[in-house]
């Protein structure tokens, strides 16, 4: 199994290495080429690295197999931007043995269930009113996802 280590390209940047485990995981012989600002502050890059860690774990369970695709569900309320995540993921796998691992992002809209009539509706423009009965009380039943849904393995 390939060993993931913190990016060594960062040591000159003056931060403790452990800080970057999450945000800047690269393979040992491949120095990180991301601009420092992106490494540190781009939220989605850390999320992308966590997805890659999960792929690595799953790969251990399929010796001889090759994971070619990973699917994630990103809720509207998750605070994660799908495009930025896609970009971050591509940068992380580029020129590594993981390439051409692709990330499929499914955006999950915010759905509410009316507390009065149980009607389920897509919430738009933060309007909590039930379109059926007009009641204001409803519960959020989806839209908070930040989940890995599936992986595709070529055996």
């Amino acid at each position: 199994m390939i060993n993931m280590v913190p990016c060594r390209g960062l040591s000159g940047y003056g931060h403790p290495v452990q800080t970057f485990r999450r945000c800047c995981i690269r393979f040992e012989d491949s120095p990180c080429r991301l601009p420092p600002a992106a490494r540190d502050f781009m939220h989605e890059l850390g999320i992308a690295a966590s997805i890659l860690e999960s792929v690595e774990k799953e790969a251990e369970r399929h010796p001889g197999g090759h994971i070619s695709r990973v699917g994630v569900k990103i809720g509207e309320l998750s605070g994660v931007d799908g495009d930025a995540l896609q970009f971050g993921f591509e940068v992380l796998v580029k020129d590594t043995p993981w390439e051409p691992l692709t990330l499929e992002v499914e955006l999950v809209p915010r759905v509410q269930r009316c507390s009065k009539c149980a009607y389920e509706f897509r919430m738009t423009d933060f309007d909590p009113r039930c379109p059926l009965c007009g009641d204001f009380a409803s519960q959020c039943i989806s839209g908070e996802e930040l989940d890995i849904a599936y992986m595709e393995v070529d055996e």
Binding site: R39, S54, V72, I148, A149
Partner: protein, 222 residues
């Protein structure tokens, strides 16, 4: 090609650690709250006033997060309660591992309240569960009333919103009613307390909220 259903949280490792922390807090009867806001909304000032109002016998501790410097810990240590700075060195949020590491050396049995002051940021901290019983979001009157609409995730996930710097209301073009309305559009029924760390207005209500929240059983899921 074989498709395997995984159904795992992206931040699974963080989630596992957060659940362990939550269980430790539950066993020791500790209320943990996670304070989140944009930089400069007044988290540290509020904590200063909060600690100042607590008597010496209060079993409270604070973990305060920043990218750099020990400044906040120094400000908060004056009140005599245990305070530790978490310097993330660039990471834009605290995660459960950082909390676990910095709790080392403190005995949770000796605490009733643990206040975590997150890194000033309305985006990333909303994704990382720290095992807290409640997230608390601060919005100050020098920001825009539409912040809850721009950053809905954190306002949705927070149990309480503190509207800070209300002493500035006469001097800034901030519509507090609209800000509250926006917050409740994102999170219907969210509790909101108006506070000023300068005049002390609203602090009794905030202290009362903390006290009442300590009596509530810790929910299994934040």
């Amino acid at each position: 090609m074989n498709r395997i259903a995984v159904e795992r949280k992206v931040l699974n490792e963080n989630q596992i650690l957060a659940e362990q922390l939550r269980e430790r807090y539950r066993q020791n009867g500790v209320l943990c709250v996670n304070l989140i806001s944009a930089p400069g909304s007044g988290k540290t000032a509020l904590l200063e006033r909060t600690l100042e109002r607590m008597d010496n016998s209060t079993r409270v501790a604070v973990l305060t997060g920043d990218l750099q410097t020990e400044n906040d810990a120094k400000r908060l240590a004056k009140f005599g309660f245990p305070v530790k700075q978490i310097t993330t060195g660039g990471t834009c949020h605290l995660d459960a591992k950082m909390i676990e590491r910095h709790l080392a050396g403190w005995s949770l049995e000796d605490l009733d309240l643990l206040i975590v002051e997150n890194v000033g940021n309305l985006v990333c901290p909303s994704s990382y569960d720290l095992g807290e019983a409640a997230k608390i979001v601060l919005l100050s009157t020098t920001e825009g009333e539409d912040k809850p609409l721009k950053y809905p995730s954190i306002f949705f996930k927070s149990e309480l919103m503190l509207l800070t710097k209300i002493d500035l209301l006469p001097y800034v073009p901030f519509n507090a009613g609209l800000a509250r309305e926006n917050a409740r559009r994102v999170h219907p029924g969210m509790e909101i307390i108006d506070v000023s760390s300068i005049t002390g207005e609203g602090l009794d209500r905030w202290m009362g909220w903390l006290q009442a929240r300590q009596k509530k059983p810790v929910a299994a899921d934040s």
